[in-house]
């Protein structure tokens, strides 16, 4: 072999060894004699995923022999995987549909949906009828609802999102009746779209909106039925448009799944829930 080839071989071996060394050994602390061990697979809504993941990390630190894997893929995925046994627990960011009653749902948090406008928009509130008219394209200019003379840019969510389902259900709108100018995927995209367009209107999760509004993003939340849109009001059940964030299972959860769900519903994770601007479930 030529000199540079031996060098290349040596280099490759070095890299391989370094890579293997960098992968940490399972250096877990000496395990407490807990009875919980095994792997848990949780899939579903990406809204719930960050919360489920943080709860999972805390759970794992208390039970070192447990491994929890959280994957996204949407509420429909959560339902399907739980049904087919591809996951132990499904995450669903809405109440269960009538044809999903074969599953059991346990809420771990609540979230509201708020209509948002750009901060500079002089309009302070909208009645239900006005919102419906704007979203069906009957009102096209802000001046018709007391704002500037500017065309309204309607922002809607893509098909299949629970936020859209809940919004349309609340305002009694058919999905196909909504005439939008921009369709967005995730909550943050909605926030950023509205923040970039002074004449737009959209709707997102209250948690996301409130966080952004209090951190300098130029959006504001509209009150609904005169109730201010804020997480506080979702908590005391005065805000009308709220949804549960559910963990669903096919049968009554047992063992590891049950321990996790109970942990997720307990007050031990309230701080995590609040950090993500969701509302912890009511305690009996």
């Amino acid at each position: 072999m030529q000199k540079s080839e031996t060098r290349l071989c040596r280099w490759t071996v070095f890299v391989a060894v370094a890579a293997a060394a960098l992968l940490p050994s399972t250096g877990r602390a000496a395990a407490k004699p807990t009875d919980l061990k095994g792997k848990l697979v949780i899939t579903g809504a990406s809204t719930v995923a960050p919360l489920a993941l943080e709860i999972a990390k805390r759970f794992e630190s208390l039970h070192p022999d447990v491994r929890i894997e959280v994957q996204t893929g949407g509420s429909a995925r959560g339902v399907a995987d739980a049904r087919q046994g591809l996951s132990d627990i499904g995450m669903v960011s809405r109440p269960l549909e009538p044809d999903e009653k074969d599953l059991l749902a346990r809420p771990i948090a609540y979230d509201g949906i708020a209509v948002i406008l750009h901060k500079s928009n002089p309009v302070k509130s909208l009645t239900d009828k006005q919102v419906v008219a704007i979203y069906t394209g009957q009102i096209k200019n802000w001046k018709d609802v007391g704002g500037k003379d500017a065309p309204i840019t309607v922002v809607n969510k893509a098909e299949g999102r629970s936020t859209l389902d809940l919004f349309a259900h609340f305002y009694k709108l058919k999905h196909s009746a909504i005439k939008a100018h921009i369709i967005i995927g995730d909550n943050e995209q909605g926030i950023k779209t509205v923040a970039g367009n002074p004449n737009s209107i959209g709707y997102v999760s209250i948690g996301t909106a409130e966080y952004s509004a209090t951190h300098g993003v130029p959006v504001k939340l509209l009150p609904l039925h005169s109730i201010t849109a804020k997480v506080e009001n979702v908590k005391n059940h005065t805000y009308p448009l709220a949804r549960p964030l559910n963990l669903v299972t096919k049968t009554a959860p047992q063992g590891l799944a049950r321990a996790y769900i109970e942990f997720a519903q307990s007050s031990a994770v309230d701080d995590l829930t609040k950090e993500l601007y969701f509302v912890p479930p009511p305690r009996v």
Binding site: L23, A49, L53, E54, Q71, E188
Partner: protein, 284 residues
């Protein structure tokens, strides 16, 4: 052609060429400058080695960097041998009019245009489910290998085509086997094409998000083996900027880290190209 016309055209070309270079540099500065401006405050050794916490808004991206590098390694390990082999086959061993050769070339062109999300779904069905790898770095790397393959093959093939035929003829005249010709003469000469293909391929792999959501998954802990789920850097950036409220700051930091990582990888690739080029026999 009268001299005056020629000079005018040449002048115009000069203007266009410099104009293009300036526009591209401008775009680069706008993009990367924006990243650097927002990301610098977050960048530190701690950021690059600690684990994410608080849904990624605090802490760092240590495990994610490791996952990303492992995915990249799996991808390259899978696609460089097959890619190189195919490229050599197409360039050296299949006559231009051969049906097999044409079929492969066209298949690769089509493969280059398949949307990343389709790769993700395919990867999920094939690597995760059929081959039973589940959500893992291995699945992610192999799926990316499928995506990168056409780019690698086509540009490497071009590299081989660029080698003058004199090389092949003279080595045959000297009694070299095809294999030896390849190893000592053609491979070093075709290195620029291979490097471009690798760089483009790595760029594509690192930039990929949609394909990895369904294959290497969401877990943000340090992976312990190639069969563990591991979040890639691009996916982390996506989650922070689009799914988690307030994740923007760390998203910028992560993006800047990604740019620096790429700089390092591309620089290494170029350095290796230089080393190999020293072995090139220059005729001109």
């Amino acid at each position: 052609m009268p001299k005056r016309d020629v000079r005018w055209l040449s002048g115009l070309l000069g203007v266009l060429v410099w104009g293009a270079a300036i526009v591209i540099t401008g775009v680069f500065i706008a993009l990367v400058g924006d990243l650097a401006w927002h990301g610098m405050p977050r960048l530190s050794w701690a950021f690059m080695t600690t684990a994410p916490s608080n849904a990624g808004r605090d802490g760092g991206i240590g495990p994610i960097l490791v996952s990303t590098l492992l995915i990249l390694l799996v991808c390259l390990a899978a696609c460089v041998p097959i890619g190189l082999g195919t490229a050599v086959f197409l360039a050296e061993f299949s006559p231009a009019a051969s049906v097999f050769g044409r079929l492969i070339r066209r298949s690769l062109d089509v493969l280059a245009g398949v949307p990343s999300i389709v790769f993700g779904l395919f990867g999920n069905a094939f690597f995760c489910q059929t081959l039973g790898l589940g959500f893992s770095i291995a699945s992610g790397g192999l799926t990316l290998a499928c995506m990168v393959l056409p780019i690698l093959i086509r540009s490497t093939e071009e590299g081989f085509r660029a080698v003058p035929n004199d090389y092949r003829l003279s080595s045959a005249a000297l009694g070299f086997t095809r294999g030896a010709t390849l190893r000592h003469l053609l491979l070093p000469a075709a290195v620029p094409g291979l490097i471009v293909g690798t760089v483009l391929g790595i760029g594509r792999a690192v930039a990929e998000t949609a394909a990895l959501i369904f294959t290497s998954g969401y877990a943000d802990r340090m992976p312990e083996s190639l069969l563990d789920s591991g979040r890639a850097l691009s996916l982390h950036i996506f989650d922070l900027s689009m799914n988690v409220a307030g994740g923007d700051a760390n998203a910028y930091g992560a993006s800047l880290t990604l740019v620096l990582l790429l700089l390092a990888i591309n620089g290494a690739a170029a350095w290796m190209a230089e080393r190999w080029l020293h072995r090139r026999i220059m005729i001109t």
